[in-house]
Amino acid sequence: MDATSPRDPLSPPALAVTGLVMRYGEKVAVDGLSLSVRQGVIAAVLGPNGAGKTTTLETCEGYRRPQAGVVRVLGLDPVAERRRLLPRIGVMLQGGGAWSGVRATEMLRHVAGMYTHPLDVGLLVERLGLDSCGRTPYRRLSGGQQQRLGLAMALVGRPELVFVDEPTAGLDPQARRTVWDLLEELRADGVTIVLTTHFMDEAERLADEVFVVDHGRVVAAGSPAALTTAHPAEADQGSLAFRARPGLEIGLLQSALPDVFRVVEDPPGEYAVHGPVGPDTLARVTTWCAQHEVLPQGLHVGRRTLEDVFLELTGRELR
């Protein structure tokens, strides 16, 4: 092990992006994005579709030359020092990456052969639950199996840093947990992981650092705990949320509560009471619901989730 611990804040970052700008014709995909990821952590890049996540990742992987700004991966320029960098990183693309006729284990053995100290292919296949389909051609694997094979291909060369684009998209709940456990084990063994995801629970559970990206910029960054507690003032006070039929007369509920509370319905059918929620608040809300013959579903009292923060930052409208 090096003299400096990988998690030492003073050791150089595994990934440093400064002022990255990427355009496709007229369209600005990445607009002055900056982020820095310490060694040995899991960093999640969150953002709506088209926010610039994949373009940023592919620039870090050396597929695209930055049009402005500086990208350093493990201290190297991913374009100019590509040949030195590539053996040290693992890349999982969004879908694909294997020949249509290749068998799952055959592909993994092939990739393992490109490296000097690859992981044991059998172990990786077993850990990712691919042993049952090891002889199946790639095109006949399920989406989830293809996804896990893609992850295995990124890991088999024992990289220092892995980029994973939506690692659990299309996976069933069991497979998602398998992948989460594996990523956590990688972190424990000193691998830095940069992932993109649409799943807030995934980021909340896995990530040490979260970067919320929108319109090609980082609009918020920090640990999940910091993001969910720090943002607006009302976050410190908590909230109460429930689902019911749309169109309840929230003015009536508002008047049943002290003035400091604010009741909102957004989107239709989802209600939230913001303010200093206490046991008394809960009693008042449920009493009001009982009087109006409303059964509140998914009643939830507590701090905001990462999803709340994400939606506040990036808006609720579909893109």
């Binding site: 050396g62 590539l86 053996p87 694909g96 992981l119 990688l186 000193g190």
Partner: protein, 256 residues
């Protein structure tokens, strides 16, 4: 770090990566049923049907096997270096294989070397099968140093020329379009490109056919196998096509 996943990065030596890549692509080419039909069944059918028809109806003057075999070998080489390669590469782009390989330790040059190696391996197997069948039909080629050198150089340059053109197609069209176009061009060249039947049999048009990669491939093989010498003019034509095709491919190929 002592864990099972503790980083230990490093690229395998380039020559080992290239060798493994060539063997992998060879296995994948041989595994694909349609491509196997193109690579072996069609040339063998042309050879047997041609020789049998010639003997029965006296269509070809002289030794039918001797006149047909160089063209059938040329057809087999073209099927692999052009059609199979174009189709396989088109679907590699579709499935993101080439893109993913771009993030692996194998450089582009290694990928191209590996692909060329796979083509030459498959072609060696094709030539062995076709030559074996032709020998059984009574073919007796000249077998001197000139023959060996002529066949080796013609197959190598022919492969480079057709591979460059196949990649040009696969690197710019969609996978399905490549599939259709590569087969269509194969059929057109097989019939009218001077591959199977010598360019001189096409009359005045033969002079043009000699300048096509298909006609030149035939000429080079026929000269080597029939006269036991190296067909330098044909090699020059193939070299020019390889250079033009390679240049255009390098400029237009889109990796994803």
């Amino acid at each position: 770090m002592t864990g099972a996943f503790a980083p230990a990065p490093g690229a395998a030596p380039m020559h080992r990566q290239v060798r493994r890549h060539a063997l992998m692509e060879t296995r994948l080419l041989l595994r694909n049923g349609e491509q196997l039909v193109l690579a072996l069944v069609i040339p063998l059918v042309v050879l047997f049907a041609g020789v049998l028809a010639a003997e029965r109806f006296d269509l070809v003057a002289g030794d039918a096997a001797a006149r047909l075999t160089p063209g059938v070998i040329a057809l087999a080489v073209m099927s692999t270096a052009f059609t199979s390669l174009a189709i396989a590469t088109g679907f590699e782009r579709r499935y993101g294989v080439i893109k993913w390989l771009g993030s692996s330790p194998l450089p582009r040059s290694g990928l191209l070397l590996g692909k060329t190696g796979a083509l030459l391996l498959v072609e060696a197997a094709q030539i062995a099968v076709v030559a074996g069948a032709a020998l059984a039909l009574g073919w007796r080629p000249s077998a001197g140093l000139g023959t060996l050198l002529g066949v080796a150089l013609t197959v190598l340059l022919g492969t480079l020329a057709f591979a460059a053109l196949g990649l040009l197609m696969a690197g710019t069209l969609r996978a399905e379009a490549t599939l259709a176009a590569a087969n269509l061009v194969f059929v057109l060249l097989a019939i009218g490109g001077g591959v199977v039947v010598a360019p001189r049999e096409y009359g005045e048009f033969g002079a043009v056919l000699r300048l096509l990669p298909s006609g030149a491939l035939h000429e080079g093989l026929a000269t080597a196998l029939g006269e036991g010498s190296v067909g330098w003019p044909a090699l020059a034509v193939l070299l020019v096509w390889a250079a033009i095709g390679g240049l255009l491919t390098a400029r237009t190929f889109r990796w994803e």
